[in-house]
Amino acid sequence: MTAPVGLVATLTDEQEMLVDASVRFMEAELPVAAIRAAADGSPRDDAGYRAAAAELGWFGFLGAEAAGGGSVSGNGVVDAAVIAAELGARLQPGPYAGHSVVVDALTRTGGPAHEPVLADLVSGAAWATWAFGDDTACVLGASRDSVRLDGHVALAAEVGSCSHVLLGASGPEGFTQVLVPLDAPGVTVRPLESLDVSRRWGAVDLDGVTLPADAIVGVPGAATAAQLLRQVLLAAVLAAADAVGAMHADFETALQYAKDRIAFGRPIGSFQALKHVIADVSLSVEMAKGIVAEAARALGEDAADAAELAHAAKSFVGEHSVDVMHQCFQVFGGIGFTWEHDQHLYLRRMSADAAMFGAPGWHREQLVATAEAVR
């Protein structure tokens, strides 16, 4: 078993057991060779993987115990972030951040009609994701008994492997969220080619999709807008945690290479020209772990600084992960340009993590808008 990422400096005993079992599971079930095979088109056994992962507790940290969920440390966001980091480090498939957001949203604001879906999401019977971004545009028409959706989701990770997508749409009562079954008439999921090959990406078209009114999640308007902020923060923390895992793994691989590769009669990591680059990279990795751990802790505690820490985490990690990748690539030299080397898998994963659920610049604008408003 390779060492865990160490996102959180000190874990509880229960968290350590969770991480240990989860890492063993990932490495046995989907080692990098299997990830590569899937990228080349081999079928994946999502159902078996999901069910086993659910046994470990992955999908329930943000769910109520009554629905089969529960955190292991008392802070479900930290638990989920710790798992997200291990997933990123091992290039695991699945829509973990989006799925966790949907579990959290349904737990907090879902109605009786959503309970069976929530149970499936926690038990690993299905995956769901949340569509969020500039390219997601949906219009909702509502009558007493039904809602009608038109629009599209430009891209979402693993949406083709999901049973449901949570969508935001402008409606007659303001901003509204709807849980859309992806097998509903009028829904088309289109697979996309993507930079990230460890997860499958897709787009969704909604053409006159009509659903019962109880597909709406929560109360439209101000309450849903507030819930939206919670979702943004949670998705930001978990996507950043995934990227931190990828940073960690990329860095550890580069560090080992710097010790093993001989040039000019000595290990290349002895040259200060590379040693200093590697030290800077390790600082970036430490800072990224530090801010994501703090952001997860604060969000799980509903602390006053939860929002600014989550925005900072997504912004910092989004930019520094890609910087780290470039520096590691340079340490690898030409071997990093080969498909056989894992470097490009991390490059792809981190770049996608940086863009999803709000790019760094978008999160910075949220920070500065808050500062402007409260000054």
């Binding site: 990591g269 430490e286 800072m287 530090g290 703090e294 900072a312």
Partner: protein, 439 residues
């Protein structure tokens, strides 16, 4: 007291001896209520080492007197050994004191206070002989003997083991010659903790010895250095045949590098690094600058302000992480401290650059008396730029931190060394006609 008792400069029984943590906390509060001004609401100011302004001599004397009262009342050197005048109390007593202390303005001896109590004295306690400690530590605690760092030579900074200031044995005496530089606040100091070469015929790390040099000894000349930020906080000292004795030696002769490693740990904050207390929201200096220049309406300024805010938050989070790592792995605490130092060295200049971009012309020139005067946010951004490379250079450059991290934390091999295996005398000679050949 029997006639045989040695004469001690201090009262043998401290007023706080034997107190429980709760008793000590209550006594500390009572003492601070009676003797120290309370901090104003929101006054969480922690000064940076380059922010030090000259304290007028009369006020400095008053602060020394306050330190002495604090000591006599049993609140100085809380965890230091009682036989050297400390209180001999536990770390919990110290924490109880610290919790109360944040509400009050503590005795302020400038940078020299930090140097004395957090770098030099702890190093002395780790390595000084009982005789040395029983002479100096009580005076230090009483504010009567403040200690400056006589560390860097003009010719050796990051390469601290390459100092050429030397002490030569002469019968019972040591004769000190050379020069020290970057000694912060030394003009207020009573002694300097001085690293000198005592053997030139062994490799550089094995011929060093630490001395306590009285600042007013014959042969010591001190000059203050005019800095780019307008202060004259740093000093340079010149030693011309300064006479010292074995009683002035700190630690073992020629084993000064061991002492140095302890000192560097304390200097980098490894001894008592605590996570900074943080308030929610963008830092006031950024908000003030954005207000002053109308930056809220400028997309580039907005992004720069947000980047500063992000980096400030991340650096605080890094501090929390480092402190936790030090606690779980104390053997490598000094190496982890290098992360904090490297982060400051890299992000202070970045922050200054962002602030300059926001400020534009407001950081280039400002009026004397109007709203855009020397107290303006633009002028503050300009000053911050001048100060921004402090942590990238002082106490070991970022390049030194990168070597420490690369070698001690990440396990990368060292560069071949040209100076660690041969007598330092030969190192200096060979460097003068450097051929680049590995011999």
């Amino acid at each position: 007291m029997s006639a045989m008792s040695p004469i001690s400069p201090i009262s043998p029984i401290s007023p706080t001896t034997g107190m429980s943590v709760d008793e000590f906390r209550a006594a500390a509060r009572a003492w601070m209520e009676a003797n120290l001004p309370r901090r104003a609401e929101g006054d969480t100011e922690t000064r940076k080492p380059w922010d030090i302004k000259d304290v007028p001599p009369a006020e400095f004397a008053a602060q020394r007197a306050l330190q002495k009262r604090m000591y006599e009342s049993g609140f100085a050197g809380i965890t230091w050994p009682a036989e050297y005048g400390g209180q001999g109390l536990s770390a919990e007593h110290q924490r109880a004191f610290d919790e109360v202390a944040i509400e009050f303005r503590q005795p302020d001896l400038g940078t020299l206070g930090g140097t004395t109590f957090h770098v030099c004295a702890p190093t002395m306690l780790a390595h000084g002989s009982p005789e040395f400690l029983s002479v100096h530590v009580p005076r230090i605690l009483a504010g009567e003997e403040l200690v400056a760092q006589f560390f860097s030579d003009p010719d050796a900074g990051s390469d601290l083991a390459g100092v050429r200031t030397q002490a030569v044995r002469d019968g019972e005496r040591w004769i000190l010659n050379g020069s020290k530089i970057w000694s912060s606040g030394a003009y207020n100091a009573d002694i300097g903790m001085c690293l000198a070469r005592t053997n030139w015929d062994v490799p550089k790390h094995r011929g060093l010895t630490w001395f306590a040099v009285p600042v007013r000894a014959r042969g010591v000349t001190m000059e203050r250095i005019r800095q780019i930020n307008g202060n004259e906080e740093f000093c340079q000292e010149f030693f011309d045949d300064v006479e010292l004795t074995d009683a002035d030696v700190i630690g073992t002769v020629n084993d000064g590098w061991t002492v140095t490693q302890t000192m560097l740990l304390f200097e980098r904050g490894g001894g008592g690094m605590r996570p900074a207390t943080r308030t929610v929201g963008m830092k006031p200096d950024v908000v003030a600058l954005m207000d002053e220049v109308g930056g809220w309406d400028d997309l580039a300024a907005r992004d720069a302000a947000a980047r500063v805010h992000v980096d400030d938050l991340v650096r605080a989070a890094l501090g929390t992480r480092i402190v936790a790592a030090m606690r779980t792995d104390p053997m490598r605490a000094a190496s982890y401290a290098s992360y904090g130092k490297l982060a400051s060295g890299m992000f202070d200049p970045l922050r200054a650059n962002h602030m300059m971009r926001i400020a534009g012309n407001a950081a280039i020139a400002w009026g004397a008396a109007d709203a855009s005067g020397p107290d303006s946010a633009g002028a503050a951004a300009a000053l911050a730029l001048l100060n921004s490379r402090f942590m990238a250079i002082a106490g070991g450059t970022v390049q030194m931190q990168r070597n420490t991290i690369g070698e001690k934390v990440l396990g990368l091999p060292r560069e071949p060394s040209f100076d660690s295996g041969k007598p330092f005398r030969d190192v200096v000679r060979d460097a003068a006609h450097w051929s680049g050949k590995v011999s």
